[in-house]
């Protein structure tokens, strides 16, 4: 057994184990994405980074413990690194939450994005309605595809459309994909804007958003259904 100090708390773990084991024992969870027990431990997602006493950031899932190792899981550098990594992942993630099979509260990325305040994922990611029950599919101007997730979806859970009270997603590629989704289900721009104007009219970026939405719809209409 070796002694590891996790955030000032001492825990004992068997030699040869990783920092992650020590963290679990100490009850200080760190997020992991690519770690999968003994099947995959290549430390490629860098979500489980922790800071050592020498200032190095190392992945908890692959770094072996040694006696007297001091680990901190919540320093500013760790938070910045994790947050940026989530941003990195989202920046190349094709956000199509309305048609994603993992929707309905099962999305790891959504959990991380909310925990680290990274914007970009729409309400659809956690919406309990999908398939035939989806309100957009029914033709209603639900704002789910273009509203930031994280509210816990009280409205769609009760069968009423999202009205966008959390604010809009501003990423252009998400807006374009959402517009295509609207268009393919026969929802019109003016209906969407009508709902959107309720909460978003006073936003400083509303005009810009409106322009982007109009362009996205134009593109979706021109490019056919998608």
């Amino acid at each position: 057994m070796v002694r590891v100090i996790v955030n000032g708390k001492e825990v004992h773990v068997p030699e040869g184990e990783t920092i992650l084991t020590a963290l679990k024992k100490a009850g200080d969870a760190v997020p992991t994405l690519c770690f999968f027990g003994h099947m995959y431990r290549e430390a490629s997602c860098r979500m489980c980074l922790v800071e050592l006493s020498n200032g190095k950031l190392v992945p908890a899932c692959a770094y072996p413990v040694s006696d007297g190792l001091e680990v901190r899981t919540d320093t500013p550098r760790v938070r910045e690194a994790r947050r940026t990594v989530v941003e990195f992942i989202l920046s190349i993630h094709r956000i199509r939450c309305w048609s994603c099979p993992r929707k309905g509260g099962n999305c790891e990325l959504l959990k991380l994005a909310t925990a680290y305040w990274v914007e970009g994922i729409p309400v659809c990611s956690s919406c309990p309605l999908y398939g035939k029950d989806c309100l957009v599919v029914k033709g209603e101007p639900c704002l789910g595809p273009i509203t930031l997730a994280g509210c816990g979806d009280p409205c769609p859970s009760n069968g009423s459309p999202c009205i966008g009270c959390r604010g809009p997603v501003t990423r252009r590629d998400v807006l374009e994909a959402a517009a295509q989704f609207y268009v393919s289900n026969g929802v019109e721009l003016k209906d969407v804007l009508e709902v959107a104007s309720m909460f978003w009219e006073g936003l400083p970026n509303y005009d810009a958003l409106k322009v982007s939405l109009e362009e996205a719809f134009k593109k979706a209409l021109g490019g056919g259904t998608g």
Partner: protein, 650 residues
């Protein structure tokens, strides 16, 4: 290199312990004047050529590219007609004086050695006739020691008078351009395999101790003490251990490993065998970049020759040490220079893995493995032959010895130079490499390849050692130095190096795969005039995370070019973002070409050559004007204009 007489019994089955020394001082096992004369005459023949005649032609990748093979053919054609024995022609490696390629070195009895640079095949006959028949050395680039017997000696400097040679310390590169790299006999005649001979007389612990005393640190860039790596590996209980030469040199602008291995492959091999002996390995690998075929070929040949002479294989030099070496070609990914990726590449898939455990503990196929750079091992061979004092005599308190640097870019004398560690960048760039071309101003020095950083001109007095360079925001790296003058745009330079990293990132970990792409996209935006001040924050923030969070050293150093240029050349970034101008006139999207109507003679050449049809004749004045809307900013009109009327406006 046969036996001198029947008394010599060295063979692969019964190796002689004194084989190496016997070749130069021998024979040792019996006293025979005839045998002794045989040996010494052979050595004189190798060193001085037949009857003192010698014509050296360099054959390394660099010289061949410059036309050395044609020069060699031209020499071979005329040599006999001049009455010089044809075996006087000797092919050697490269001296590192790349700006002279292809060169010729001539020697006749009584004459000074003469070095001719940039020789063209058509000039060969003239040069040879002048030197050998007229005893005239005028026109040579430099000569060896003055003898007072040749004509024109006074006008030609001796090599030791030239800064480019005088300020160098040729410790590890001593044989480059001297020995025939394809001949083990040459190498031994010049004192080769003495280090191995000496190491095998010591215990492995003593060898490690010797390297420790020398203070040698890894020449691959990180500067890890070589002895410590060996000691850690030696202390592992495993029966099987491996040593690997990392000859996967991939930095743009760095070629010292290729030069060493092509010009003196046996020295690298000797170092590898010594390392194998010190750590207790049974097998060594030479991991060569496939894009450097001549290097691989010469190393392969060296391995085969060494096997034939009992220097490699079973019971090396009769000391009971078994060791064999295999040359492995890499598929040429930059990341393979990283040691865990290199190991993975030999195993089958080249991606790095998290360290620790370090390769010295868990390496190739799970066995303890030592990976050393080509130059490190060449240093080992040299210092084992000469004793650690000879090595530790050079360098600074914390970093001993010499290091080879490749100076390229906007300098007068491009080449690979070996200097003691602690030499200032100014000495290396301005005195040895001759500084930037006339009328230009030195702006920055990029050191350490795509993982390194830019050192601005005002920090040129930084001594080159691991710590000082790190403080200046660069790294020693493998030793590639790219010199940039005022025609270089630092934003564009950062963008170029980042594009290299984006292409070479293996894609395993997110920060390196995605972060470097974000850096690249942001830099592209800035060079195209669409950058905002927010972009600078993105560059710094993303750069910091890529550096801290990446899995291997490639990602960990990837943002260095961006961060170091941001630190030292922030005003250039601001000029791109705020003024939408590229001060150096490199970023084409921010440029404007304009024809000066006062200079324009109305010849119309530019309009004919413009690929975009953007130049038209102004009917009123008869002069030509560029339509800025259509202009693609290729710069053809600038080069083609006979009266230099086209101006680049920044």
């Amino acid at each position: 290199m046969g036996r001198c007489c029947g008394k010599c019994w060295h063979s692969l089955e019964y190796p002689c312990r004194n084989y190496v020394r016997c070749r130069t001082e021998g024979p040792l096992c019996h006293d025979d004047q005839r045998c002794r004369t045989l040996r010494s005459e052979r050595i004189r023949y190798i060193k001085e050529g037949p009857n003192g005649y010698r014509i050296k032609v360099p054959l390394a990748s660099c010289s061949i590219a410059a036309g050395a093979k044609e020069v060699l053919n031209a020499v071979k054609e005329v040599v006999e007609s001049l009455g010089i024995p044809s075996d006087a022609v000797k092919t050697v490696g490269c001296t590192g004086l790349c700006y002279l390629d292809p060169w010729l070195e001539l020697k006749a009895p009584g004459m000074p050695v003469a070095l001719y640079g940039n020789v063209k095949p058509a000039e060969v006959e003239g040069i040879l006739k002048k030197y050998f028949l007229e005893n005239d050395v005028s026109g040579a680039y430099a000569i060896g020691e003055r003898t007072g017997k040749a004509k024109g000696e006074g006008d030609v400097p001796t090599l030791s008078e030239l800064d480019v040679w005088r300020l160098q310390v040729r410790y590890v590169s001593r044989n480059c351009g001297v020995v025939n790299p394809e001949s083990i006999e040459d190498y031994i005649a010049y004192g080769g395999y003495r280090g191995l001979d000496r190491a095998l007389r010591m215990s492995p612990e003593e060898v490690i101790e010797e390297v420790k005393k020398s203070g040698l640190r890894g020449r691959g860039g990180a500067g890890f003490p070589t002895w410590l790596k060996w000691r850690i590996c030696r202390n592992q209980p495993s029966k099987e251990k491996y040593v690997i030469v990392n000859a996967d040199e991939g930095d743009p602008g760095a070629f010292m490993n290729r030069l060493l291995a092509e010009s003196d492959p046996h020295r690298v091999l000797e170092g590898l065998i010594i390392a194998g002996y010190a750590v207790g390995a049974t097998k060594g690998f030479i991991f060569v970049r496939a894009e450097k075929p001549l290097m691989a070929e010469r190393l392969q040949k060296a391995v085969e020759e060494a096997r034939k002479h009992g220097i490699l294989g079973k019971n090396i030099l009769g000391r009971g040490f078994d060791f064999d070496v295999e040359v492995i070609l890499s598929a040429g990914a930059f990341v393979c220079g990283e040691e865990t990726a290199l190991i993975a590449a030999i195993e089958g898939r080249a991606t790095p893995r998290q360290r620790p455990p370090y390769p010295a503990v868990v390496g190739l196929w799970g066995k303890p493995t030592v990976i050393n750079n080509v130059e490190t091992l060449a240093h080992v061979a040299t210092l084992m032959a000469e004793g650690w004092e000879s090595f530790a005599a050079y360098g600074t308190e914390r970093s001993k010895g010499t290091k080879m640097f490749c100076v390229t870019g906007a300098v007068k004398r491009t080449g690979a130079y070996e200097v003691p560690i602690g030499t200032t960048l100014r000495t290396l760039v301005e005195r040895i490499a001759g500084g930037v071309k006339e009328g230009r101003k030195l702006k920055a020095v990029q050191i350490g390849g795509p993982s390194g950083g830019c050192v601005p001109a005002h920090l040129l007095d930084t001594p080159i050692d691991y710590e000082s360079l790190r403080d200046a925001g660069a790294i020693m790296g493998s030793g590639g130095i790219v010199v940039m003058d005022d025609t270089a745009c630092m934003v564009d330079v950062a963008r170029y190096f980042t594009s290299f990293i984006v292409a070479e990132s293996c894609g395993k970990c997110f920060p390196c795969r995605i972060g470097t792409k974000i850096l690249y996209d942001t830099l592209t935006r800035i060079t195209e005039g669409e950058g905002t001040l927010e972009d600078l924050e993105i560059l710094e923030g993303v750069g910091r995370v890529v550096r801290d969070a990446s899995l291997c050293a490639l990602g960990g150093t990837a943002p260095n070019p961006v961060l170091s240029t941001l630190r030292h050349f922030r005003d250039e970034y601001l000029a791109h973002i705020i003024d939408k101008k590229c001060p150096a006139g490199v970023c084409t999207k921010l440029l404007k070409y304009r024809i000066n109507p006062d200079k324009c003679v109305g010849c119309g050449t530019c309009a004919k050559h413009c690929p975009a049809g953007a130049i038209s004749r102004d009917e009123k004045s008869g002069k030509y004007v560029i339509d800025q809307e259509k202009c693609v900013k290729c710069g053809t009109c600038v080069t083609i204009c006979p009266v230099n009327a086209v101006m680049k406006e920044v």
